[in-house]
């Protein structure tokens, strides 16, 4: 799945005048002396599918729970649709949540579970029946009305949980690891369904996940969290191609990181000296940094070339020995040991069938890349 075509008008975060639907301002949540969420500010716009991505203990779930109203921020404010959420209990918020464990009521049938929110709002019986039927239709669970949660498979429970969270037509749907408990194949199918449902209903989704692939495929934007802080917010492509710091570069996808020092710093290029190779790293854009500053050059494995011959260029190549090759069908992954001892990971698409003399173990090779292949990171 690719991220959906996103015309510029559909990117309210790029427009100065757009009003955010959710405003998180300097929110901090402390449990004892530990700040689970540390001074987070974030704007999320209507109709977005926003992913909070981070490892365990990064504070992403705590932030979600504060949006749902299960936790009160220690400091800062949360605004949903222009309304300040301070001291608004969970049962009065225009949000609904899909729990990681699904939290289906075990003593109620599928129908009762889904209808629960409507009963709480005293919706007329006939309308409840209709809306539950429509919702079960949407999540493809018609015919399962009378089943109890323990009579359903994992995927079916997940859809009941989704239906129950959507039935009240919330302004904001919070999803805590929505696909975490499903196996890989089911997860991929469900990703499609989730995006389809989100587009059909036009509800704003905030998804918490630790799975970077899931975040990339689902979301309009990703917020990468670490240690209670937001490291970077951006569209999936932006996060992947232009990571803001080493944590983000390393967390999303795999990356080769070369430490180096700036030797030449001009407006339209920089030259970096790294102890990992004999020649310089040349970057074809300027970097705002001090001379002789220590920095890192991040290079994705698929953005490099591998060859037996020394490349015809003065910079941007390292010499090494092939230590390991993994053939994965569509591509091959190489682990190349540089003279400095550093291991470089590189992938190459297997374009030709029956290559005559493929590069093999223990061969001396050169890895090379273009002047705009990598990212210079200061932090």
């Amino acid at each position: 799945m690719t991220s959906k075509p996103c015309p510029a008008t559909d990117r309210p975060w790029q427009s100065e005048s757009a009003k955010p639907f959710i405003r998180i301002r300097n929110v901090t949540k402390k449990f004892g002396p530990v700040a689970a969420v540390d001074d987070v500010s974030l704007d999320i716009y209507k109709g977005e599918l926003f992913c909070l991505l981070g490892g365990s203990g990064s504070g992403k779930s705590t932030l979600l729970r504060m949006l749902a109203g299960f936790e009160e921020p220690t400091a800062g404010s949360i605004e949903i649709d222009g309304q300040d959420m301070a001291h608004v209990p969970a049962y009065e918020r225009p949000t609904n949540m899909m729990f990681q464990s699904y939290a289906l009521f075990p003593h109620m049938s599928v129908e009762r579970n889904v209808a629960y929110g409507l009963y709480r709002d005293n919706v007329a019986k006939g309308e409840i029946k209709q809306r539950v039927a429509d919702m079960l239709d949407l999540v493809q669970l018609s015919g399962y009305e009378r089943r109890k949660p323990n009579q359903l498979s994992g995927g079916q429970r997940q859809r009941v949980a989704l239906a129950r969270a959507l039935i009240k037509r919330p302004k904001l749907l919070l999803l805590d690891e929505p696909l975490g408990a499903l196996d890989k194949k089911l997860r991929e199918e469900t990703q499609f369904e989730l995006v389809t449902i989100q587009e059909t209903l036009g509800v704003t989704f905030i998804v918490v996940t630790h799975d970077q692939e899931e975040a990339m495929t689902l979301s309009t934007r990703i917020g990468v969290m670490n240690n209670g802080r937001i490291e970077q917010v951006g569209e999936p492509r932006e996060i992947y191609e232009f990571p803001g710091n080493r944590f983000v570069a390393d967390f999303i996808g795999s990356v080769n990181m070369f430490e180096g020092v700036v030797t030449e710093n001009e407006a339209d290029f920089v030259r970096i000296k790294s102890k990992d190779g004999d020649c310089d790293i040349y970057v074809s854009h300027g970097v705002g940094c001090a001379p002789n500053q220590k920095l890192w050059y991040a290079l994705r494995p698929e953005k490099m070339e591998i060859s037996r011959e020394r490349p015809d260029q003065k910079e941007n190549f390292f010499e090494g020995i092939v230590e390991d090759i993994a053939y994965m069908g569509n591509q091959s992954a190489y682990r190349i040991r540089l003279k400095s001892g550093k291991i470089v990971r590189l992938t190459r698409t297997n374009r030709d069938r029956g290559e005559e003399t493929p590069i093999t173990w223990d061969e001396t090779v050169f890895v090379s890349w273009g002047p705009s292949a990598g990212v210079v990171l200061i932090a």
């Binding site: 049962y91 609904n96 949540m97 729990f99 939290a103 629960y116 929110g117």
Partner: protein, 310 residues
């Protein structure tokens, strides 16, 4: 692998094989034997006495069988049971027992549920201390604890002295030897039996269910009524049975705290047995009580297992 080789491999395990096949019987057999000796046998003895005739003898009843003119005569005296129905004393004391046990169970539930809830919701150290406090009374004799209540409830006891000292009342309130004192005694005695199963049930309640309920718009009271309460029914049933069943046959509390008109079946049984030395009627009272208790318990258990299966 050839067939013979496979057989050779199996042979040394013959005993294990036998054990696997019949071990189940062994495992079930031991408790069965225990129950036969210590429950079923005495039960039949009591049953036998309940259908025998009273006699001034030792033991104070006639044997069921006699030998006359080459005929074996089995005499079943159902008069004892008939007597239970005819004399209103027994019926009314059964009813009193049921009434007192029933309301004691309700009171214990109303008191015990919030306590169990708080214990289940507290964490770590606090929870352990609270559980300890619930179980602490068991460390002293039951009889001693009921005696202590006499000191609290009597005319010049702790409560009356305090109320008179503060000037709320002029003359002591009569609490001893009333139904009220019996209720206090029974609820006090059996409260832990209500709290512990309820606590065990409430402690394993998934708190995300409560969050989910709140998230879907339910106020705390609604969440309690629609989620917590229905899910704790097994705990309520278990606790109520543990209070109701012993309370029905309770003898010590009504004797020590209750008045002369607090006629509970345990007391009647005692006086029938020791004061009147009418073992057959006493046994009939016991049998009737057993039937009275076992039938609803069996019905409840069936309903419960059906609910779990359904």
């Amino acid at each position: 692998m050839s067939e013979t080789a496979q057989q050779d491999r199996v042979r040394p395990w013959r005993f294990a094989d036998w054990f696997v096949r019949h071990g189940r019987m062994l495992v079930i057999g031991l408790p069965m034997l225990w129950l036969m000796i210590f429950f079923l046998a005495p039960f039949f003895v009591v049953f036998k006495i309940s259908v025998s005739e009273l006699a001034i003898a030792r033991p104070p009843y006639l044997p069921l069988t006699s030998w006359e003119d080459g005929k074996l005569i089995l005499t079943l005296n159902l008069g004892n049971f008939q007597y239970l129905i005819e004399d209103s004393l027994y019926v009314s004391s059964y009813l009193t027992s049921i009434r007192i046990a029933f309301f004691s169970t309700i009171f214990a539930l109303l008191l015990g549920y919030p306590m169990a809830y708080v214990i289940a919701r507290s964490t770590g150290h606090r929870r352990n201390i609270l559980l300890m406090l619930v179980m602490l009374p068991f460390w002293t004799s039951f009889l001693l604890r009921v005696y202590a209540w006499i000191g609290i409830l009597k005319a010049n006891g702790v409560i009356n002295n305090f109320l008179m000292w503060t000037g709320v009342i002029d003359s002591p309130i009569v609490m001893m030897q009333t139904d009220f004192a019996t209720y206090v005694g029974i609820v006090y005695t059996y409260l832990p039996f209500m709290i512990l199963p309820l606590y065990a049930n409430l402690a394993k309640l998934d708190t995300t269910l409560l969050e989910a309920s709140s998230d879907l718009g339910a106020r705390p009271l609604t969440t309690f009524l629609t989620i917590t309460l229905p899910l704790s029914i097994p705990g309520i049933v278990a606790g109520s049975m543990l209070v109701f069943i012993p309370a029905i046959g309770e003898f010590v509390v009504p004797t020590l705290l209750g008045g002369p008109d607090t006629l509970m079946i345990g007391r009647v049984l005692w006086s029938e047995f020791f004061n009147n030395r009418d073992w057959p009627v006493a046994s009939a009272v016991a049998m009737a009580m057993l039937v009275l208790l076992v039938l609803p318990v069996m019905w409840l258990r069936r309903a419960q297992s059906q609910q779990e299966a359904g």
